[in-house]
């Protein structure tokens, strides 16, 4: 196992850096508005927000194409946006509208777009891990050159599917990258209680695949480690496990009173906000100005504001729609 320090040494050009900043900002604004509109009663059901973890989804997915597949989690909005799923369709899906990306049948926890290589947020902790192995098996069998990236949380590392999936990927040498987003808590339970390993990446050694810990608040560190793991998978050299140590700025779900962590702890992590850090790194290198960032921020807010206006105006599905899409025929 190796630990990748924040090096900033990886070569990413200006356009790509600004694109990463824009994607991360899209996720942040998406989540802030989702939280606000959930509180206002506009979003039915359960909502789990990804704010704070943006560097992981964007650091990884910015290196993928539509030919690559990802599986996601209940905290999946960030993965969807990073993989290119239509944001207006996502907002409408949160509201259960007919214009939603899943026609209102999935909701926050089941947003998917197979055409974009996004195999679904997933309401089952650890549920996506075998599925990612299957997507990688498809890529290997058909020789598509694609890889599968499997996002899951620290809680999922204790599910049987984690161990079954890593073993299967290892023995079949599948082009899959397992990305554990360790945000410190499985729902309300701290990782130091629920997990026997001080680093979940250590568990890679049991399957004799590479295991790497990265600072999940540092998009450069994530990018660098993911770059190596994705290249390894594309070369046909098999799976890797990345553990990104990250943090969620909101609770497990909206409505969570978050009594299990201190406000000091939250403030400590907010001082390391991955979006502010990326912006500072870009500025420090003289690659963009405040005006450039303000233009991006304005564009993102406009996109999200328009998406909410459109979603609010859109129709709910007709009740009979509940009876469609369950089988090909029948």
């Amino acid at each position: 196992m190796s630990v990748v320090e924040t090096s900033g040494a990886v070569a990413i050009d200006r356009a790509a850096l600004l694109d990463m900043y824009e994607r991360m900002t899209q996720i942040r604004v998406f989540e802030d508005l989702a939280g606000k509109n959930f509180a206002a009663g506009l979003v039915p059901g359960f909502v789990h927000l990804y704010a704070g973890e943006e560097a992981v989804a964007v650091g990884v997915c910015s290196q993928l194409t539509d030919n690559d597949f990802i599986t996601s989690t209940h905290r999946g909005h960030g993965h969807c946006i990073a993989k290119g799923v239509d944001i207006a369709g996502m907002v409408a899906e949160l509201m259960g509208k007919s214009t939603g990306i899943c026609k209102g049948k999935g909701g926050s926890m089941h947003i998917a777009d197979v055409e974009k290589g996004m195999l679904g947020a997933n309401g089952i902790v650890g549920g996506g891990i075998p599925l990612a192995c299957g997507a990688a098996l498809t890529a290997k069998t058909l020789g598509t050159g694609g890889v599968a990236v499997c996002f899951f949380g620290d809680g999922a590392a204790n599910q049987g599917t984690f161990h079954e999936g890593l073993n299967l990927a290892a023995i079949w040498n599948l082009p899959v990258v397992f990305v554990c987003e360790n945000n410190g808590y499985a729902e309300s339970t701290p990782v130091r209680y629920h997990c026997s390993a001080s680093d979940i990446a250590n568990r890679a050694s049991a399957y004799e695949i590479p295991g790497v810990v990265v600072d999940g608040l540092d998009v450069f560190a994530v990018y660098e480690a993911a770059s190596e793991a994705i290249a390894r998978a594309r070369r046909g050299d098999g799976p890797s496990l990345l553990e990104a140590k990250t943090y969620r700025f909101y609770g497990h779900f909206q409505g969570d009173q978050v009594t299990y962590r201190t406000s000091d702890e939250l403030e400590t992590f907010k001082k390391r906000d991955p979006i502010i850090a990326l912006r500072a790194a870009i500025v420090a290198r003289g690659l963009a100005t405040d005006a450039d960032f303000n233009a991006i921020d304005t564009r993102v807010h406009q996109l999200l504001d328009d998406a909410w206006i459109a979603a609010k105006a859109a129709a709910f599905p007709a009740p009979e729609e509940a009876l469609t899409d369950v089988y090909v025929t029948y």
Binding site: F69, T71, G100, I101, C102, K103, G104, K105, G106, H110, A112, D113, V114, E115, L119, G120, N122, G123, I124, G127, I129, P130, L131, A132, C133, G134, A135, L137, T138, A139, T141, L142, T144, A148, G160, T161, E164, G165, N167, L168, I171, W172, T324, D325, V326, Y327, V328, Y330
Partner: protein, 341 residues
Amino acid sequence: MVVETATRTMTYQQAITEALRIAMHEDPTVILLGEDIAGGAMVDHLINDDAWGGPMGVTKGLVQEFGRNRILDTPITEAGFIGAAVGAATTGLRPVAELMFVDFFGCCMDQIYDQGAKFRYMFGGKAKCPVTIRTQIGAGMSAAGQHSGCHYSVFTHMPGIKCVIPSTPADAKGLLLSAIRDDDLVMFFENKVLYGTKGEVPEGNEGIPLGVADIKREGADVTVVAISRMVNQALAAAQTLADEGIDVEIVDPRTLSPLDDKTILTSVAKTHRLVIVDEDNPRCSMATDIAAMVADRGFDTLDAPIKLVTAPHTPVPFSPPLEQFYVPSPERIADAVRQIA
């Protein structure tokens, strides 16, 4: 005009193997995966040969023909490989996974019913999951409590899963071809006691449509709906009853989801009497489900109470006399028919 199709006598097991071979030839995206389906993976002298071909030999010979890249031995890791089959199906392959015994569904049910079966619906019709899961059911071999169950009612209960359950070699071939070609998740239930039974099987690539029942014996007096091996038990009972002057009609649903309720209702409308024979446990079962459907939609055509002949509500016992007591027998079926004939 009736087109005569040439047939051969073959076993239920051989018919399944033939369907797998045809499906793999016609579609390069069809792969098979499961525990020991070839067997002996990475053993030097078995690189292009199989050790087992599955525990019952159903997949024997396929690895020589299609190679180990398409016939994948898996670890004993049901959640892992059933989930991988579901993920592969959603991304461009057409996998046929073998869940060695249906009793093992507890190890992988999330991947079946919460993932594969729900994708199409939850994703607004934009995903498909063309995976077939073959699995063994049934008592009769003293395989005891964890290797003898039926449990098809569990899967039939869940939307998004198609449930296919052949009783004859010809049905096994035709239905398996349709199951593999289908774009939904299909559970394909093979009764282990039927593997050695023989019948006429058509040549060629023709599938049997899912959701179409078959009348295995025409009769005028009592309709018997029988599932899987129970078709044979019902045929034996019908023979006895014919000598007593009772003419039984036997309806084999062949698929439980979708269920061909029209054929069942039409038969009951003719005979006005219904017995349902089901080897599964009786609570929340296919027997109660079909009985409820007929009571709801065919009550006016009934001249007698509906009778159910099922296994008892126990796990499957080991000892042969206990197991024989457990499985509905031709005698019990005949008794039920006599009560309402």
